[in-house]
Point group: C2
Chain length 236, copies 2
């Protein structure tokens, strides 16, 4: 009782977006980090986050810091893990509830960068404050894992997208090429996306059909907790 007040609660978020690598032109996974401006780890890069407000839910807090650092709204937001080892922050006891989020690539392209906010390629982040390197690695593992049995990939894209675009997302995240023909069949038979009437023209080749995420499809990836509610909607 008396002792519990000594524990502080913070919420941090690993924010993923896809961007083209400046070197080659390949799509890769990126995430924004913020520079710490006080001890401990003054000057080090760290995950965006902050103390949990007394009147905000955990996911709300994650979405708030996400908006504050990137000016973006997440397409997908899910709790990752609670980190609370006694030794993870020198001189204080902090339990961090960490979320991970996906934002649309086209929005991320125009995201602000300042002296204290910078985007990094996910597989070459510097040495971070606290245990944040472990957290980033775990979030990346979860992203790659979940991509294969759910349909979060569309969260990186707009409302409609071609199957090539969707495949490009998978290839970027999983870092391996996928057979276009088999990918198409897998996705179509999953029922998670539905074709629209529109085509996307413009490339110097046959136009591609646009698909849309199927909101009516059942979500079996979160069990009784249901689809992780994005702040704004409501769900038990």
């Amino acid at each position: 009782m008396t002792a519990a007040a000594a524990v502080e609660v913070a919420v941090s978020t690993v924010i993923f977006a896809l961007r083209r690598s400046p070197a080659d032109d390949r799509m890769t996974v990126w995430l924004p980090l913020v520079r710490r401006i006080r001890e401990p780890f003054d000057g080090r890069w760290a995950l965006p986050g902050g103390p949990l407000g007394p009147n905000e839910d955990l996911a709300e807090s994650a979405a708030r810091t996400l908006a504050e650092t990137t000016l973006l709204t997440p397409q997908y937001l899910e709790q990752l893990y609670a980190f609370g080892n006694t030794d993870r922050s020198p001189g204080e006891r902090v339990v961090s509830i960490v979320y991970w989020a996906l934002v649309r690539s086209d929005e991320a392209d125009v995201a602000v960068e300042t002296e204290n906010v910078r985007w990094f390629e996910a597989d070459s982040v510097p040495e971070l404050a606290f245990d944040h390197n472990v957290i980033v690695d775990y979030a990346l593992w979860r992203l790659r894992n979940k991509l294969e049995y759910s349909h979060i990939a569309s969260a990186f894209l707009g409302d409609t997208f071609t199957l090539s675009e969707l495949r490009e997302v998978h290839e970027a995240v999983l870092q391996k090429p996928l057979d276009p023909a088999n990918f198409r069949r897998q996705v179509e038979s999953s029922g998670q996306v539905v074709p629209t009437e529109q085509l996307r023209t413009g490339g110097r080749h046959r136009p591609a059909r646009l698909y849309r995420y199927n909101t009516a499809a059942p979500d079996t990836t979160s069990g009784p907790l249901g689809a992780r509610p994005l702040p704004g909607r409501t769900q038990g």
Copy 2:
């Protein structure tokens, strides 16, 4: 900063064991609950747990309350989820880090029951305090899910076990019969268990070979966090 102190941190644990149902003789999933002895929800059953100690890690806290309520040591302990909605506890703001644990069936058989600690069958728990019914449902979903792609089932058994015993665990958790021949092949090809030299005699039928959990097999179920360290061992 100032506001963060208003949030209390608690750790609760969903403890699973297998027991034979008193009605029929079938194995089913059980869990211990404790009766609340103060408001809010005075008199209601709830998950065992309590405030996080200032000098204990999250998993340590879960194992401690587990030992306090059941006098048992968990064979498996993993973080489930952090629940922190503002409205989940009337009049106070509590973030609960919830763990789930598996204990051996033979130990659970001799577990104490008191006026304020009782074991319930998992699919017929009463109306619980707080949001604990949701938590139990989610933990059950996770248990059933994880059983199919990891080898936590052996945590319900002793050091050595027959494949029939292991299959009985699966059947109890998944609530459906499994083909003995196919189950055997699946388990053997997974590499997660290895045969010993011993046989188990006693039934009036052919003796069954005893198997042991293969500690050398790689654990791919937790990603970069590694196998969830049980209190006592150490791991980053």
